[in-house]
Symmetry: C2
């Protein structure tokens, strides 16, 4: 079918190329200037279109989907402020290495800076936050230009999943007619069937992207250090989306076992949960998760191998900073993601292959040099941590001393074996990191830990949920401020057909500020930091047609189980006093530390 005009040809060719390259989904916000793109996406059989009304939420929805799949999701908006509304999600995609393909429609060149309506400067709009920026030339139905368009589209998609995956921005100027209105002579018949493609399936340019691995001799320093280590430690930080598919946690565990090294597995690392975790009490495995409580009371590790982003646990970050250790940092992009500036060796390679190479090279038969007590001590501390947590979760105790961490513990403990959990920034992710025990279950745990904003939380979660099989539950745990911040994102439940169990930890404001010294300064503490709002979220749930239940901390597990077994989306709101929760966290941490110290000193 010959395109009725050049704008339509342009949109169709671009979308044809992107889908040939494997693009499966696009989030579109309505607009006029983007009509050629919208129409082309809507008519293409191989791409799922998610329609959003708020571009900020659209951006985060696309981010969430790309985060869950590891593959690019596209975004389309019209010209003007619409494009600026994508900026927060683009920023997060940059920091968190999430492949995102941003297509912003623009007005033709001559209208820029002319005072024309809805015309702003979209050139390099997201600055250095994108891996690649390109501006499409004006649509024209010539072989050369269409070839250029296909090449640009193929490249854009490849750049989102390059050595350092991330966002790519294509700015797309169009002139009228934008609709598929027939304009005789605008497009020759030759473009009818081929859209100037190669007449075969697959992309115009097939990108084969190599993996960054170490040469033989590049392992030497690492192997030698580990073989001599007395207190080796593996730290698995929050995973990049690519790690979740290219890194087999079982390989990490086997390397750890060969070294008698513990693995400090961040709740977002992809290593804390999975079949590789010891199915027993979860604490005889080398994979541990309670270190936030006890890392201060362990002896320093002497060799650290770290991969993933900066760990969620601040005590761990500080321990790594203060340790007198040789620290190897494995990063596929080699971008020096190391904010304590204590790493001694940077290995610019993919962690998956590096661990496979290590397993081959570490002598399976040899005695490990690791101090006998090192791993045993860590595991003993780990057992203390979970025992104390379990005591705190007992119904009687919880009734007297409710705290937000108890909800995170239950959320992870009661969820079925296969599930995706999205945890908001601020306190929920910290509580998950502290109170979610390693488990032999296929849990995909996600958060926006790139820039760690509290914006776009619901949308990111629902975007991740849009990629799940129908029988895999999606759970979102959020604080009240984050829930309010992306209240518009809830529209996706209905519009995009994604169900979730949404747990709102409602402490009426910014509970995290109770952790900071500003708590002591009143005013302005309550009015400018804690910022209580008194919002009753039941009305918000009603606006979006969601079931709403207010539950007590002790009644949470039952309500949560019910929701997991139910269809539809339920919002479970649990009220807490932020200050009391914060005190309880500190108490529990002190209890673990006391126990660890008394064992150590005995």
């Amino acid at each position: 079918m010959t395109a009725p005009n050049r704008a339509t040809l342009w949109g169709r060719t671009l979308v044809d190329e992107l889908t040939a390259g494997g693009l499966e989904a696009v989030c579109i916000a309505p607009g006029s200037r983007s009509t050629p793109l919208t129409v082309a996406f809507a008519e293409h059989p191989d791409v799922t279109v998610f329609s959003h009304l708020d571009e900020r939420s659209a951006g985060f929805f696309a981010l969430g989907r790309a985060r869950r799949t590891g593959e690019a999701t596209a975004l389309v908006c019209t010209s003007g402020t619409a494009a600026a509304n994508f900026h927060p999600a683009v920023m997060e995609a940059d920091q968190a290495r999430v492949p995102l393909l941003v297509l912003t429609a623009d007005r033709p060149h001559e209208l820029r800076d002319s005072g024309a309506n809805q015309t702003v400067d979209q050139v390099k709009l997201y600055g250095d936050a994108v891996r690649w920026y390109a501006e499409l030339p004006e649509p024209e139905a010539t072989e050369r230009k269409v070839r250029n368009l296909r090449t640009t589209a193929a490249r854009a998609l490849a750049e989102t999943v390059g050595v350092e995956p991330g966002p790519v921005h294509l700015n797309c100027p169009f002139r009228k007619p934008l609709e598929p209105t027939c304009r005789p002579g605008d497009v020759s018949e030759a473009f009818g069937d081929t859209l100037a493609g190669r007449g075969r399936s697959g992309p115009f340019v097939e990108t084969t992207s190599g993996t960054r691995t170490l040469e033989n001799e590049q392992y030497d320093a690492l192997v030698e250090a580990l073989e001599r280590a007395e207190r080796p430690l593996i730290v698995a930080g929050p995973a990049d989306p690519a790690d979740l598919t290219t890194l087999d946690p079982d390989t990490v565990v086997r390397v750890a076992d060969r070294l008698d090294a513990p693995v400090f597995a961040d709740s977002l690392s992809g290593v804390r949960f999975g079949a590789h975790v010891d199915a027993g009490d979860g604490a005889s495995s080398s994979v541990v998760g309670g270190y936030d409580s006890y890392v201060d009371d362990l002896p320093d590790p002497d060799v650290v191998v770290r991969f993933g982003a900066s760990p969620t646990s601040k005590p761990l970050r500080h321990a790594l900073r203060d340790a007198d250790a040789r620290q190897f940092l494995i990063d596929p992009a080699g971008t020096w993601r190391e904010a304590t500036f204590t790493a001694t060796d940077l290995l610019a390679a993919s962690p998956g292959p590096v661990f496979e190479g290590l397993l081959e090279r570490l002598d399976a038969g040899a005695e490990t040099t690791a101090n006998d007590e090192w791993l045993a001590n860590v595991q003993a501390a780990e057992r203390r941590h979970w025992a104390i947590r379990d005591d705190a979760l007992a119904v009687d105790t919880l009734e007297d001393e409710p705290f937000e961490g108890a909800i995170l513990a239950s959320v992870f403990e009661c969820v079925p074996e296969t599930a995706t959990l999205f945890v908001s920034n601020s306190m929920p992710i910290r509580d998950a990191d502290r109170f979610a025990r390693p488990r032999a279950a296929d849990l995909t745990v996600l958060a926006n830990r790139g820039a760690s904003g509290i914006d776009g939380i619901a949308s990111t979660a629902l975007g991740a949920g849009s990629a799940l099989d129908t029988d895999e539950p999606l759970v979102l745990v959020t604080g009240d401020l984050a829930f309010y911040h992306d209240s518009n994102g809830l529209l996706a439940v209905d519009r995009c057909g994604v169900d979730a169990t949404i747990v709102v930890l409602d402490n009426d404001g910014g509970g995290i500020f109770h952790k900071l010294p500003i708590e002591e300064f009143e005013p302005p503490f309550t009015e400018q930091f804690k910022t209580p709002h008194g919002l009753e979220f039941e009305a918000l749930a009603e606006l979006h047609g969601l079931e709403f239940e207010r539950v007590d901390p002790t009644g949470f597990e039952a309500a949560y189980q019910r929701s997991l077994e139910q269809a539809g989306t339920q919002v479970l709101a649990v009220e807490f006093d932020a200050e009391a929760s914060h005190r309880r966290r500190e108490e529990l941490r002190e209890q673990v530390r006391d126990a660890v110290r008394s064992t150590r000193d005995a």
Copy 2:
């Protein structure tokens, strides 16, 4: 009082300097890194702090206030995606020339690009959308650095209201302690009383900003052209905030009267409403507002004098494009804001002084050369326009043929003599421009016509409302998509204590797309363009504690009057069928055109 540490000194000095320079209000979103700024603003007696939870809404609220006052409003956020959430408002402020001072807290230099949490690249975050970008150096309690800080603060404020007013971005890195925690020796006693100011009131550097006026001989071409014109036309486009204070519409009318020229006054020009408008039937004045209907059927003007931004009326823009006329464009910034590229003369000077100069130079006694019929024809067409509109508003007619424009007509007609009206983009502003009759009332009419987005509408309106005397009503007219888009902005009603009458024209989706050719293409019209959402806004109103009433088009005036007389905030939702409204608009336009044509041809 000596500052307890350098971060506190830095925050206090910056805020002290900004308030000395006249800054009266700041919008703050809670965050940790911004603590020194937040604390300093909160403790300063001369500045009003508006606390917001969503940075996007905060940005638009500040924009609205600055738009209404013409003076800078400041914005404060923490590091990370928070700053990106300001981007849409910054973009609008750029395009609409609104003074906005954006203060983004940042982490210290060494943490940038280190993988540290909540650390992103904020350097020149808004690209060329700001008039000035500067990064503060690290806080240090030395005379020279503090002098630099004061100079930077004074300059930042001055740049927001320079030759082309607009946004300014100061990126502000801080290191811990961020709170006013005492750190002995960090700040010497000398900074206690003075904060290194000059020990006198007023800013550290007093900026005296000249006005751009024309030299004597620079009037020659303009005066000569006008004195010879047969069909002179003055076009008052949407006003910059500065125009609303520096341009006296009475002077424009007096010039027009001397020339027998009509003034095509955009509803946003500051010229359509005011004491200068003839108090009679509003159509014997030279100020006319119905030209959208009849401009196509007038003879071409031969000399056009235009000021303000590009007119809202598309028929007017096209008529100017197609006219064989000498077109003078008066723009204080001289930025060639002229998207039809037909202007022949650009006068880079402030419109106010130019019209005063014209009035002096146009010979008061001389016969005007204007064609006798020119003004009379325009005024006759104008009378037709309003007569036909009035017929359409008659209750019986309206009952049979309701249309959105009727609401806009009533909104402007029934509002008290002094009021501020904020009108959303998309259809409401177009309907206001068509159906709001010139009136001798002190109406301040505002919209976000810089980039013309439908984001941030409620926040911008409430921000404008925050600057009003308590007895001046604030009215917001919005479509349903815009109402949903900035639903978070409604929190400001309670948190910032601003009341409004909020009129929601609910046609369940993007009614404007019925105006476009895409309407003919189904699919994807309904799903991707019209995007019906079925949201029941009553729940949204309830979430924010607002009164809600669903009214019929014929019952609107009564409900509107009640709301204007009441305290508190009322949401009046009026349901429409977008397609029917669009057809009705077209019908009315055709009726006026037929009437004008039949008179002309008679």
